[in-house]
């Protein structure tokens, strides 16, 4: 594969992802304005927008991490460019089908499409249900092929044990060293593949019921477990892909020694893999019929997932920066703020993953509060850091960013202001997924309006960064 085609595919991905991102942010702002009574959408219109926003965001920020590791993995292994191109085509087609189902067909069962809502008492065009599920099939096939392909390429060079860095657990200086990028990519790809396999089962069960004409009915509790295994796992593993890029690039752009795989890094990521696959049980705390043991596993796994995260990754970034002279560029600034957002969102998540708090917070705005924190102020920033770095690579110069401080300030104020409005309303018992708020939630509409204002500030920062990335890409490719 030529380096040029890898660059072109990466640049195309960046443009597709950023365009969808900006549109989806605008949908988000419109939803917040509707909740603030500043703008009027119909109720199905609001929920169709919410479904599109949620799934589009989850989709683009999982593939963004894949784009990053796909590019960076070529430093260590061979990666055929066809994998990424294949996934790009499937992602674009899948997204188009999804948008058609939601905006034309008015499909609006939410991004978690919780069984049996998409199948019973359908309140949208009949064809929109199968179209929605087939759009998931198309998206899923693209990513499954891509993630399996990347894993196979890794395993051509490293044995499975080496890819998990097990040799680092017993020896200080093993013969074959596993770079952190390989270790984290392996762990995350396996998680993604498992979540996609569960998605296949989920879709098969859904189609079976849909096409059986009432002869076959699923079990609601089982379906809910499957849905959250899929949804929780895919959302979290995407974040780890962003971290893989951070491990590879943050020391490099900061002119500090590379992160090495040591026994504790190896142990931490192996533990993460186990915890993250069982933490999803925290989505079912309020289903009291779920076996008690699984509820306990949910809280334990959610708590201990934070140890490797905070103790290894965040601590390593701290050691990298603290009392060391760092040349700050937009790349490492974004990584640094991303770690901060990830930790703050993590605290919000940990609070909600405590069963006794979940009674007070489940399905309030606290939920979008914490996941927007570690997405919009965590994973998005890790991926943007990669985009910015790679655009500089294309144009051949890591030039100084224009108005870097302004961009950073807008991002911080807009991003944290936006999520803070969710937290305040969530802690005031305001429900999530309400298109309009009942009169007793007196301050909820004001918080929604302020949330929209802060989100607009965030959007401006994103636009400024995107324009700069775009310029660099255009310059690089028009010259070649």
């Amino acid at each position: 594969m030529s380096a040029q085609s890898l660059k072109k595919t990466t640049a195309t991905w960046i443009i597709v992802i950023m365009t969808l991102f900006i549109t989806a942010i605008i949908f988000g702002i419109l939803m917040r304005l509707n909740q603030g009574n500043d703008y009027k959408m119909s109720s199905p219109g609001f929920y169709a927008t919410m479904t599109t926003h949620g799934l589009t965001m989850i989709a683009i920020w999982s593939v963004a991490g894949m784009v990053a590791i796909n590019y960076l993995l070529t430093r260590y292994i061979k990666v055929p460019n066809s994998l990424s191109v294949f996934a790009l085509v499937f992602t674009v087609i899948g997204a188009a089908m999804l948008w058609y189902a939601t905006f034309v067909g008015q499909f609006h069962a939410g991004w978690t499409f919780l069984y049996p809502l998409p199948l019973v008492k359908i309140a949208w065009a009949k064809w929109a249900t199968p179209l929605f599920f087939f759009s998931l099939v198309v998206l899923g096939v693209g990513w499954l092929v891509w993630s399996v392909g990347l894993l196979v390429q890794i395993l051509k060079k490293y044995s499975l044990k080496q890819a998990f860095a097990w040799q680092h657990l017993s020896k200080k200086e093993p013969e074959v060293k596993t770079p952190p990028l390989i270790l984290i990519s392996t762990v995350s790809l396996i998680g993604i593949i498992l979540s996609l396999i569960v998605a296949v089962i989920l879709l098969a069960l859904t189609f079976a019921e849909y096409y059986s004409g009432g002869a076959f009915v699923n079990d609601s509790l089982l379906m809910k477990n499957l849905i959250y295994f899929f949804g929780h796992t895919i959302a979290n593993e995407s974040l780890y892909l962003g971290l893989a890029a951070l491990y590879e690039l943050m020391p490099e752009v900061s002119s500090r020694p590379k992160f090495k795989t040591t026994w504790y890094v190896a142990l931490a990521w192996n533990c993460t893999m186990v915890f993250i696959l069982t933490a999803f049980f925290h989505h079912l705390y309020m289903d009291f019929v779920q076996p008690l043991g699984l509820q306990m596993v949910g809280q334990l796994a959610s708590y201990f997932a934070s140890l490797p995260a905070a103790g290894v990754t965040a601590f390593s970034v701290f050691v990298l920066v603290f009392r060391n002279h760092i040349k700050w560029s937009l790349t490492n600034v974004l990584f640094f703020i991303g770690i901060m957002g990830w930790l703050i969102g993590g605290v919000g998540a940990l609070i909600d993953a405590t069963i006794s708090n979940n009674v007070a917070l489940h399905n309030t705005l606290w939920v979008p509060a914490h996941f927007h924190t570690y997405n919009a102020m965590g994973n998005v920033l890790f991926c943007l850091a990669f985009f910015y770095w790679v655009a500089n690579e294309f144009s051949g110069s890591q030039t100084k960013t224009k108005a870097q401080q302004l961009k950073t300030a807008l991002l911080l104020i807009g991003g944290f202001g936006f999520v803070l409005m969710f937290y305040l309303a969530g802690a005031d018992s305001v429900p999530r997924r309400f298109s309009n708020y009942p009169a007793e939630f007196k301050s909820a509409p004001l918080m929604a309006t302020l949330g929209a204002v802060f989100a607009t500030i965030y959007l401006i920062a994103i636009l400024l960064i995107f324009i700069e990335i775009l310029r660099k890409c255009v310059k690089a490719f028009s010259a070649s």
């Binding site: 309020m286 708590y303 640094f336 007793e440």
Partner: protein, 185 residues
């Protein structure tokens, strides 16, 4: 201070501490090259940090797990049982079991103050939520309404007044308007 305020204060404190640590760390990196001395014995410090974090987590776990809703009043006999059948976009509530073929509820439900009661919550179509709000619009407790399953929620109401039930699981376009109420006296 109620639970919600306590949660918010803990979170905001963590937010401020994390932001301060990151800001100071950033500031410490602006020193000139020759004054860079980094952190001494990072491995040892990381070890202590992990130990401290583990201890904190274990303490939090042992304090919070027993407070889980599953154990609330589980050793007492409820003074009243209320059956709840949720359906797009209504709640049927009754002191008698509800016939799913012909669901209907009582006109009003009155709950005795200061005594444990049990709600047996299910759904006749899609998933719904059963969130109990007090007259100050604060969420008191909740469970899910899932088709094919009955969730048993126990609670003791110490304050008389009108309580509202809001649907807390997205169930379709009219979800925000799915509600009912009961009286505690």
């Amino acid at each position: 201070m109620n639970d919600h305020q306590f949660i918010l204060i803990i979170f905001l404190a963590a937010f401020i501490i994390i932001t301060a640590v990151f800001f100071l760390t950033y500031r410490s990196s602006l020193r000139p090259e020759e004054k860079s001395d980094g952190i001494k014995k990072p491995l040892q410090k990381r070890f202590y940090f992990l130990i401290a974090l583990t201890i904190v987590l274990v303490i939090l776990l042992s304090v919070t797990i027993p407070k889980s809703p599953y154990f609330k009043y589980s050793d007492q006999t409820p003074a009243k049982v209320v059956f709840v059948d949720a359906m797009q976009y209504y709640f049927f509530m009754s002191e008698q079991a509800i016939d799913p073929a012909k669901p209907s509820g009582a006109d009003s439900i009155i709950i005795p103050v200061g005594q444990p009661v049990e709600f047996r919550v299910t759904s006749l179509d899609v998933n719904h939520g059963f969130g109990i709000y007090n007259s100050d619009a604060q969420l008191v407790t909740q469970t899910q309404a899932m088709p094919g399953y009955v969730n048993r929620l126990r609670w003791k109401f110490d304050t008389p007044g009108t309580y509202h039930i809001l649907c807390l699981e997205y169930c379709g376009a009219n979800h925000p308007n799915m509600r009912t109420s009961f009286i505690v006296k």
